[in-house]
């Protein structure tokens, strides 16, 4: 019987052949903590032992409340800084940007690795063929102490996406379409393997968007088999890996087929991520704030898609637009190529790399009755501020078109 990518990675990490459904204790290759979930993880570590199991395998960065937006946040940062220094672990502090973007961009994740992060969107790293999953602080603390953690080897759903995406339809539209189809718990506990012609043509940025939102349908991870796109991305970062990893033909998995050619720009309406409709269904709806950024859509490619529409245009009166590059590297590139000029000329606010309004705990908060249009990943009640506010989720192009018109707009008609 053949194995899925997930089964292969867990077999390797557990040191024995395992199949879906088994409980395993597996060795962790890389562990990531940030400013929100880090403090509790460190507390757990210290309940067990004094030091991390391997200082070269732990990466820390601050992105959720950056720069510190309250005394409580500053205290968390201080404690984590002290911890990183004492342990000698790599701490990017407030300087590099959103954790998931930085982890991939800096080449910290390789195909075939088992990676955990104390953040639910850790599943993003499947874009380079790793098995990466979000864990809570106690799990993280135990892993920091021992380098090992228990898992249930997941079943796999193979999302086979054939065809080619039409103009101004993006990976974000693909993943929202899929979540709308399978629902917010349609992939609970599952490894979501994305493949097919459309995925083969996607760059790593788009694959990250796909994998990032696997958690929004309950998935344990998103994953794309590494290929020549992955190889050239990692070669640029001077890191090597196994690019032959893929699921065997006869591995057990549920197959779901989609055709990218049929897909259109879509939007997730409040207050659930699977409340997905074509953008044309909500054209002309009122908006107060547009946010382009986050680990889902704050990459250079996302900013470029938005800037294409915004060039020479202005953000409509009565709408505020916030653009946040997902990392310092993205920010610098966007500065050099003139994208930041396009945004600031249009009247958008450009903020330094961080999570920004996405989790409603820092700045860019929505007030009662306000409507936010966001390229991030969650539209739960109260997610971006007031429980009386509402959030719609869409691609950067749809966000940009809407900012220009001042209402929800179809990016294909601009």
């Amino acid at each position: 019987m053949g194995q899925t990518i997930a089964e292969k990675i867990f077999s390797n990490s557990a040191g024995r052949v395992v199949t879906a459904g088994e409980f395993v204790e597996a060795a962790i290759d890389v562990a990531m903590i940030h400013d929100i979930t880090g403090p509790l993880a460190v507390k757990t570590l210290h309940e067990i032992t004094d030091h991390v199991w391997d200082r070269t395998k732990v990466i820390m960065l601050f992105d959720h409340q950056v720069p510190a937006d309250s005394i409580d946040a500053a205290v968390n940062h201080i404690e984590l800084r002290k911890f990183a220094k004492r342990e000698g672990i790599l701490n990017y502090d407030v300087q590099e940007g959103v954790c998931h973007q930085v982890m991939i961009e800096k080449g910290h994740v390789l195909p075939g690795e088992l990676v955990i992060g104390a953040d639910s969107h850790t599943c993003t790293y499947g874009a380079v063929g790793a098995f990466a999953t979000g864990v809570g602080s106690t799990d993280m603390g135990v892993a920091l102490a021992s380098g090992r953690l228990w898992f249930k080897v997941p079943d796999t759903i193979a999302f086979d996406i054939e065809g080619k995406l039409s103009r101004r339809v993006y990976a974000k539209d693909v993943i929202l379409t899929i979540i709308g189809d399978v629902s917010v718990n349609g992939a609970t506990y599952k490894a979501c393997e994305f493949g097919g012609e459309a995925v083969a043509h996607m760059d790593i940025a788009s694959r990250m968007t796909l994998c990032n939102m696997a958690i929004e349908m309950g998935g344990k991870t998103g994953i794309v088999a590494p290929d020549k796109v992955t190889a050239s991305f990692l070669e640029e970062r001077s890191v090597d890996g196994d690019f032959t990893l893929r699921s065997d033909e006869d591995a057990t998995k549920v197959l779901r087929r989609y055709n990218a050619s049929d897909m259109v720009p879509v939007i997730a309406k409040p207050h659930q991520v699977d409340n997905v409709v074509p953008v044309t269904d909500v054209e002309g709806y009122h908006i107060d704030q547009v946010f382009i950024g986050s680990c889902t859509n704050g990459r250079y490619e996302d900013l470029k898609a938005a800037a294409e529409l915004l060039k020479g245009e202005t953000v409509a009166q009565g709408v505020r637009m916030i653009v946040i590059p997902a990392s310092r590297t993205v920010f610098q590139r966007a500065l050099k190529t003139g994208l930041i000029d396009i945004f600031t000329d249009s009247g958008a606010l450009v903020e330094a790399p961080c999570c920004g309004p996405c989790m409603g705990g820092s700045f860019g908060i929505l007030g009662p009755g306000e409507i936010g249009l966001s390229t991030s990943n969650r539209n739960f009640v109260g997610r971006q501020g007031s429980p009386m506010a509402a959030v719609y989720l869409c691609s950067p192009a749809t966000a940009a078109a809407s900012a220009i018109y001042g209402v929800i707009a179809d990016p294909r008609t601009h």
């Binding site: 409980f23 929100i36 979930t37 403090p39 509790l40 507390k43 757990t44 309940e47 067990i48 959720h64 409340q65 309250s70 409580d72 946040a73 968390n76 104390a118 953040d119 639910s120 850790t122 979000g134 864990v135 809570g136 602080s137 106690t138 799990d139 603390g141 135990v142 102490a145 021992s146 228990w150 917010v184 718990n185 609970t188 506990y189 958690i215 309950g218 344990k220 659930q272 989790m359 409603g360 705990g361 969650r378 739960f380 009640v381 109260g382 997610r383 429980p387």
Partner: protein
Amino acid sequence: MARSKDITGRVWKFGDNVDTDAIIPGKYLVLNSSTDLAKHAFENVRPNFSSQVVKGDIVVGGENFGCGSSREHAPLALKDNVGAVLARSFARIFFRNAIDIGLPVVECDTTEIEDGDIIHVDLKRGKIFNKTQNKEIPMTPFPQFIKNIIDAGGLVQYVKNNAQLESQELRELETD
């Protein structure tokens, strides 16, 4: 500390897809203690919850309880007061986090449970009884692996116990 396996309390009924932002809004994630977090549990969706919840009360959801973020602050915000969380299904990370910190989470058919019902949960015998409706509710048993963590009172204690066992075995091997 392992908690009592026998719980009786009033039901706080919620619907499907109760997300972690509903359990504890993002702005409170700077707080790290269960006491501080408990003051804001369900603040956006059920503002009177934290002031009226009584120790041992039971939170009941439908499908996919705890979806969204990996924030352990969510089960932590419930741990001090809530005796158990019952739901038809749980989101993966919330379920793990709850087991890890020793908050009882039980899968069962919650369709007919109503807000305000008095429910008795006997974790040891794996039985749930709705006293108000005089009805027993079958619960989905835990896999043995997870049961071991629950019996230890959470993951940290489980890991410590195992480490102790291992070092004891090592000592025995050395003295053999």
